[in-house]
Subunit: 232 residues, 2 copies
DNA sequence: CAGATCAATATTGTCTGTCTATATTGTATG
DNA sequence: CATACAATATAGACAGACAATATTGATCTG
């Protein structure tokens, strides 16, 4: 998967330096190596990467357009530090998008895609029983990716993937992993069953339930309480 | 509403020339004055706007990041011409987002927001009966905007507004207006009633029905048939 | 000594000019 | 007539400089 725009699979490697720079920076930010709030100095980056300021500026503008960094005139760009509120909103948005994918997937997934989903789902069962959070998390991405692809709407799939990527670095702060694998697998199971039965509504609800946002008050709570913070 | 990023309300006017240029160009594209497929010459734009190539390039990069234009290395940027498939996908995405907004609004709208919605809804009834598509369309935006704001999730609201704005120039190509006002108002009425009753599921379904994507085969059709075309 | 005012500084925004790389076009040649 | 190659135009990138502005630090005043 490509770094910045999140395009699923591009033919050749990108050509311009600005593109490469943008992807490098995006990767460093999303992996946490650069970290929120850090200021990105134009000349410094130019020196570090051995290019002039021109491609650096273009890369930064593109990153700013994706929301990964924040640029204010004459003050430079900094890696965005989402507020608690903004994070909660993004999680909720992600849940809605994933749920929409699941609902559409229940109607449109091809037989091959369903087989693939079942295969992944089966492997995850073993990992959940064995208690292997590492590999489980890796396959988890495949699981969701299969559903995204199965929704038959590349635009929606792309947007869902993008949102998930953006909140990715902050997921660990909100989820406790240990012991949750079995629970997670059971929630996945509900999604898989709904898709198998071709029941969009059930698939939507199951996915929303999996992402922990069915009727819960957490989002509403954050919404009413947390006001301040930075942009996201 | 601001032009490019779609931010709802900014305090001061933007400062850098690149920002202004980006907004001007976005406005010209969204209003249809520039039109899909048109090539945007850097030097030409620089001359036209009395600036150097630098801010022009940055503006174009930002527009490319939003998907309004498409930039390929050494070939210049052109206004994106979404394929039929991409358009259908965007409409479906918009419907899902609007439906999510409606569902959340049913749970979270404040009393004041509900009053505002009812007020707009009432005025639209008169316009629909009078057969005034012009004013009806104008108020229609307010109607949906009220629901976006009422969902209590600014991130979701922003994304919904952005998607709607992007497909805006193409809506007229797919919708026939005359005689549809009454039907539209009735669909709105279903949404309003669901929100009034605080029924998220009903609100979601009503909104999906309003946007013409409940169980219909149009999207699936386009998906299976239309393959070619340009990016979107 | 605390606080405010203003100058020095650093960084971004922009310009100009130049050079290079690549896509396109046109021409010549087999 | 088709292909290969050269000419051209434009985008990508570089370099240096200046302007605009935010930040910082020093100075001055109460």
């Amino acid at each position: 998967m490509e770094a910045t725009s999140g395009k699923i699979a591009l033919p050749g490697p990108p050509r311009t330096r600005a593109d490469r720079l943008r992807e490098d920076l995006a990767e460093e930010i999303l992996s946490g190596r650069i970290g929120p709030g850090v200021r990105l100095d134009e000349q410094g980056l130019a020196d570090r990467y051995g290019v002039s300021r021109t491609p650096v500026r273009e890369a930064l503008r593109q990153l700013a357009a994706t929301g990964l960094v924040e640029a204010r005139p004459h003050k430079g760009v900094i890696v965005t530090t989402p507020s608690q509120k903004a994070l909660a909103e993004s999680f909720e948005l992600m849940a809605e998008l994933e749920a929409a994918c699941a609902a559409l997937a229940a109607r449109r997934m091809t037989a091959a895609q369903r087989r693939g989903l079942l295969r992944i789902h089966g492997r995850m069962r073993s990992l959940s029983e064995a208690g292997d959070p590492e590999d489980y998390a890796a396959l988890n991405l495949d699981f969701h990716d299969t559903i995204w692809q199965g929704c038959g709407n590349a635009t929606l799939a792309q947007m869902t993937a993008d949102v998930r990527r953006r909140v990715g670095p902050f997921r660990r702060l909100q989820f406790r992993l240990s012991g949750r694998l079995q629970r997670s697998w059971e929630e996945h199971d509900a999604v898989v069953r709904a898709i198998e039965q071709g029941d969009p509504a059930a698939a939507r609800l199951a996915m929303q339930g999996h992402l922990g946002l069915v009727g819960d008050a957490s989002a509403d709570l954050v919404r009413s309480k947390a006001q301040g913070g930075m942009v996201g």
